[in-house]
């Protein structure tokens, strides 16, 4: 019993203190299951782009969905598949990535955002306007890489 608790404590300590920020890299699924987002690193910052959509085609046009709500008309033809919806996150330590933004392609709005890794397979994504207290948190789950 004692060994078990000690082992769990070692695992927890390793999880909390052995972080570099790159633990967030990988493919994640928001709670609504409508998309999958691949988080990658550019320079020293973290970005997430849509790599899979449950409904990839726009029912109005029968063509692949594009960013039709983008306030910049010249950029409304950017495909949603491949769209970078998480931008410019920096790792602050203690499993927290901050100073980023999240884009909601359904309404064309961008929100401030923080990411908290609760465990290696779970992210709390909090989008907000102005103050973090006035926001909404979504839970994202990591997708395991298919075994070959």
């Amino acid at each position: 019993m004692k060994f078990g608790i000690s082992f769990l404590m070692v695992l927890f300590t390793a999880f909390v203190f052995g972080q570099t920020g790159d633990e967030i890299l990988g493919v994640w699924e928001p709670s609504n299951g409508k998309a999958r987002v691949k988080i990658e690193k550019i320079g020293t910052k973290y970005f997430g782009k849509i790599v899979w959509l449950k409904e990839p085609e726009d029912p109005e046009t029968n063509k692949p969905k594009v960013d039709k709500n983008n306030p910049d008309p010249a950029m409304q033809s950017v495909p949603l598949k491949g769209y970078r919806m998480l931008k410019d996150f920096t790792y602050k330590g203690k499993n927290e990535w901050t100073e980023g933004t999240i884009y909601d392609p359904e309404n064309g709005n961008t929100y401030s955002c923080t990411i908290n890794m609760k465990d290696p397979n779970t992210l709390d994504i909090r989008g907000y306007i102005g103050i973090s207290a006035f926001g909404r948190t979504d839970v994202w789950k990591r997708l395991e890489a298919p075994k070959k």
């Binding site: 320079g43 020293t44 849509i50 306030p71 010249a74 033809s77 950017v78 495909p79 931008k87």
Partner: protein, 179 residues
């Protein structure tokens, strides 16, 4: 006494308003001259194997701010007041539309938020060279104050590919300078 007080009040108000307008004019004055800045023949290599969908390639690049400012006798990057992308061209030695559905070009830097600055979706059939449509609203001046930036290209592939993919990018910016 009352009239003198009123005159003093109006004079002070006048000086205050003129000062405010002068400060606004100086701080809001746009660029006085425009120059062209080119980033020629930048190689974007996507290493295979590649998968259907969006693949990203990034190239680190240092903006030659000195060469932009030299004709104006300035060394301060803050003299650059406005930057817009005029052209973004990509070339390959193959039919681009055979493998690629769309291209999105972005700029990123340590202290500036990433920005989408040009797109082409879909690619026209049977061509080895394409011109992307530049964003009409992207304000790029902060990137030119940074010097070191990342040129980030998102390549949407039609299908999986075993081999690598090589594209050459040519970009032209219009830079507004005020010294």
């Amino acid at each position: 006494m009352k009239i003198m007080h009123s005159q003093f009040y109006h004079k002070t108000l006048g000086v205050f308003l003129i000062s405010c307008l002068s400060i606004m004019y100086v701080s809001c004055s746009g660029p006085k001259e425009f120059v062209s800045y080119a980033i020629p023949d930048t190689v974007f290599e996507l290493e295979g194997p590649l998968y259907e969908g969006s693949n990203t390639v990034q190239v680190a690049y240092s903006i030659d701010v000195e060469s932009i400012l030299e004709p104006f006798g300035s060394k301060d990057a803050k003299a650059i007041k406005r930057v817009t992308l005029k052209t973004a061209q990509f070339k390959g030695d193959f039919d681009l539309s055979e493998h690629i559905t769309s291209l999105v070009f972005n700029l990123a830097a340590e202290n500036v938020d990433m920005m989408q600055i040009a797109v082409l979706n879909p690619l026209p059939d049977g061509t080895t060279e394409v011109q992307l449509t530049p964003s009409s609203e992207a304000k790029l001046v902060d990137f030119f104050h940074q010097k070191d930036v990342f040129l980030v290209l998102d390549v949407n592939l039609k299908h999986d590919m075993e081999e690598s993919l090589l594209l050459h990018g040519n970009f032209e910016f219009e830079v507004g300078v005020s010294n």
